[in-house]
Symmetry: C2
Subunit: 241 residues, 2 copies
Amino acid sequence: MEVDMEKRYKEIYQSIKNDIFQRKYKVGEKLPSENEFCKLYNASRGTIHKVLNLLAEEGLVNSMHGKGVFVLESSSIDFSFGKLVSFKEASESSGKQFVTRVEKFETITIDKTLQEKTGLPEGKEVYKIYRIRSLDGDSLIFDINYFLKDLITDLPPEIAEGSIYQYIEEQLNLKIGFAKRIIMTEPATASDKRYLDMSGFNFVIVVKNLVFLTDGMQFEYTESHHIPDRFVFTDFARRWL
Amino acid sequence: MEVDMEKRYKEIYQSIKNDIFQRKYKVGEKLPSENEFCKLYNASRGTIHKVLNLLAEEGLVNSMHGKGVFVLESSSIDFSFGKLVSFKEASESSGKQFVTRVEKFETITIDKTLQEKTGLPEGKEVYKIYRIRSLDGDSLIFDINYFLKDLITDLPPEIAEGSIYQYIEEQLNLKIGFAKRIIMTEPATASDKRYLDMSGFNFVIVVKNLVFLTDGMQFEYTESHHIPDRFVFTDFARRWL
DNA sequence: CGGCATTTGTTCGTATGTATC
DNA sequence: AGATACATACGAACAAATGCC
């Protein structure tokens, strides 16, 4: 019923985040104190504290005991890819235009070998999709997706050209919980050489993603093959013992 | 005064984390409810909730609204390198023996070019250190460190063979706040070819680390050059809008 | 189907501790 | 010493999802 019944702390989080991006709070500046935010948003200090912690984990601000909370630099520019975002979201937020071409869209069954490789349950049917991502005419990324048909039912092939995640969340109303990611290098396969502009390279950067719903069920395994030249991964980490 | 006055939530966090690694709470099992943990640790629900959230962010557990909190698999095996841990910590937790060889230890001044490359302030003096990390006799990683002399005072060269971070935290009593990390590939330099067993590869995986103290001052820039073959980076991400 | 207990998620108010100025 | 600001902790209440009867 209440569709836009948003949690208070999420509203405040978005609001402050927005103000940082809009340079209302400038880099290096001190944010209003927690107590001032309480009045501003008519919320308790606990809620404000929680919000500021979220912003700190994300690398947007740095809070200093006894002094205040300060805006960190470069928060807007380097799109934080260290989070779990889909390719489309990442490219949009960085303002660049990616083009997606679907090269394969078929249904296969997970056998023993694929089970070990993907983590998906043996015997289950999956969509296997090949997609090539291009930027300014250069084919940069070759994606191999496996989606469990049990969970991602009736995936229309034309969706694959857009955001499959948007379809999963908005149409199927499934909630993505967490993902494990592994980054490594592998020798370029015949497919890599066919689909990507390898220009001399004989290996690719492979990003393997195992994605799970909130109930802990894995619904996806994806390998993104990147041309070494153009691969960049950025991350923000906060130490904590 | 009170040296070992530990925060309650950190104690509980370590305790539960330990119990998970010790398999007291097994993979797939439901943890005691928050209210049960309250009695177990004589703490409030807020504190317990906070601890469980930390464990969830780390990828050790998955909490499900209305059902409980469940232990995720592979929590112990894959040493989570997605966090900000030093090389020594990571290798120790994975049970393998790394050997560090110091190839260079000198003091230089940050010029304009280095300032742009490292983010460290122009005109300041830094320790520049070359270190080669070997595992089972294979030279796998070539580290180039820059430490601000203003902050990391009197770094003894022999420390470089061990953990510089331990020295920074325990001897200098400085607190590390956060780090920005960038992973990319670059052509192998002459130094790379000299120090690493490149066996045919003509490029390296470069992990660039910019590390800051809690007060937001950057004190380090480090480039880790990895042999493509042996590079693996693992990560855990939780979706959150 | 409804009702009820259990469990996690969110929020508030309050108090105390600790760091900074 | 006092004021300000963030960090931790407790207790209470209600919301929301789940599961059982």
